[in-house]
């Protein structure tokens, strides 16, 4: 880029299109959809503990690529690699979404003042997306880093993490934050690009999904705590019956 190509846009700050504006918006939506869909799958896999230790064990073996090993056991490195990819997507998403944060105190006050004067549901929903996004900025990387450094997953190993290593505290905060953020986010992607005109139906779906996902999440968290409570240290990995 030369000075000549840069000058017009900077000389008239309020006009002039910027190619990165379109790119950033597309990246934000694409990474948002990717993370949202991943979350939907992730919470269901993780909740297979509600069907018993055996079910969860099998889900883990399949996802860790157990079919490619002679013993039928998966490779934890699959979890590590996948976690790194997700971390990359989260970083990309956060980098573009941070543009939306009211970074100046004046902007924050304007937002709060507006919410006090004007009653509007979707603006309030965005506010919660903002707050949960901020929380996720700190909590999501902690969770993902743990999975990169300690990728061992299993009915007993996960219960050890949740109960004995006190990860339940992290999960209890992360679960509602990520579910609220992602479901409002997916709703927003659909309306912002005009994917559907049925807004009220979509809004109901988002609400139902928030309640549903938090419910299965809380129940699985409780069952991990329960399993962990019944185990004594050092933890023996779960051995499936019939092997």
């Amino acid at each position: 880029m030369t000075v000549r190509t840069l000058l017009p846009a900077s000389a008239t700050p309020d006009i002039g299109g910027h190619p990165w504006s379109a790119k950033a918006d597309k990246i934000q939506s694409a990474t948002g959809i990717l993370l949202g869909c991943f979350l939907l799958a992730h919470l269901h896999f993780e909740s297979s503990i509600l069907l018993g230790k055996q079910a969860f064990y099998q889900v883990v073996q399949i996802l860790e690529g157990g079919m490619f090993s002679e013993t039928g056991h998966g490779f934890p490195i699959v979890t590590q690699i996948f976690s790194m990819l997700i971390l990359l997507v989260v970083i990309l998403h956060a980098a573009v979404a941070l543009r939306r944060f009211p970074v100046q105190i004046g902007q924050w006050r304007a937002l709060r003042r507006h919410m006090n004067v004007i009653k509007h549901k979707d603006s309030h929903a965005w506010f919660w997306q903002l707050v949960t996004g901020f929380i996720l900025f700190f909590l999501a990387p902690v969770h993902i880093f743990t999975m990169i450094t300690n990728p061992e997953i299993g009915p007993h190993l996960s219960a050890e993490r949740v109960y004995h290593a006190n990860a339940w505290l992290l999960y209890a905060l992360l679960l509602p934050a990520v579910v609220i953020h992602a479901m409002i986010g997916l709703y927003r992607v659909a309306v912002k690009w005009g994917i559907t005109a049925n807004r009220s139906g979509l809004r109901k779906l988002a609400k139902v999904m928030i309640i549903y996902l938090i419910t299965i999440g809380v129940f699985s968290l409780v069952s991990y705590i329960y399993i962990g409570h019944g185990l004594s240290l050092p933890i023996e990995p779960y051995v499936p019956t019939g092997h």
Binding site: D14, G17, R100, A110, L111, I118, K119, K192
Partner: protein, 247 residues
């Protein structure tokens, strides 16, 4: 109608009062009581208040029929036209009136939407840019299809009341953001077959963080516009169009 029927309930108005022209004046909320009459609108009530209780009360109106867009204000938390708001819709009989946020305050409930709309039109060039051959006045214009005309007419119903600007939290946080009314109007020219501007020309005007990519889809515009204009659809259309223009 007999007299007993017309004797209405007592309404309480809580009105924002502040005159920036008056030295030492501070913003405050002032309470007024007024007796409700059949078919009373907030606009009628304000006129009665000004006539009988406080001649200094400032607010705007012209058409009192939802056409001129002058009387927009925030009524119990919802920005809308005062002349189209019936007092009987408030069962508690308590009505709080605030000026539209985000505009220059003239005084009390009166804001300068006109200045905003003029600056917006200049910034976005909200007028028809004819094709070069149409500049010839001796040439007959190509007729427009009735479908296209109907579509454009639908978007031309905007009364420039400013409600969509006030209802937008994004606009309140970022002064330089164009707001919904500007994008609605620009989309109107984008759809007009007589307009010579290309996608690149439009991208140059709104393809940035202050334009369509600054919109966070909070939809305060769509949900409050007293003319029920399709903001959500139009902005999404522009967003897709502008996003496709850049790879």
């Amino acid at each position: 109608m007999n007299l007993i029927e017309t004797k209405g309930r007592s309404l309480t108005f809580n009105i924002f009062r502040y005159d920036p022209q008056e030295a030492g004046d501070k913003p405050k909320m002032v309470k007024y009581q007024i007796e409700e009459t059949p078919g009373m609108t907030v606009f009628i009530a304000l006129n009665m208040l000004r006539e009988h209780q406080d001649t200094s009360l400032q607010f705007d109106f012209v058409c009192r029929a939802g056409i001129c867009g002058s009387c927009a204000m925030v009524i119990n938390g919802l920005p809308t036209l005062a002349c189209r708001t019936l007092t009987k819709n408030y069962p508690k009989g308590e009505i709080t009136l605030m000026p539209l946020p985000g505009f220059e305050l003239i005084g009390d409930l009166s804001v300068n939407t006109g200045k905003f709309m003029r600056e917006l039109a200049e910034r976005l060039k909200l007028w028809l840019h004819p094709m070069s051959e149409d500049a010839d006045v001796h040439r007959l214009e190509t007729p427009m299809s009735p479908q296209e005309a109907a579509k454009l007419y639908e978007l031309d119903r905007c009364v420039e009341c400013g409600v969509c600007v006030s209802a937008c939290a994004t606009k309140q946080m970022r002064e330089s953001f164009v707001g919904a009314v500007g994008m609605m109007k620009l989309a109107r020219f984008e759809l007009d077959s007589r307009d010579s501007r290309t996608t690149e020309d439009f991208y140059h005007v709104i393809g940035n963080q202050d334009g369509v990519f600054g919109c966070m889809t909070l939809l305060g515009c769509q949900d409050n516009c007293p003319k029920d204009l399709p903001h959500m659809q139009q902005i999404a259309y522009l967003r897709r169009k502008m996003a496709m223009a850049q790879f």
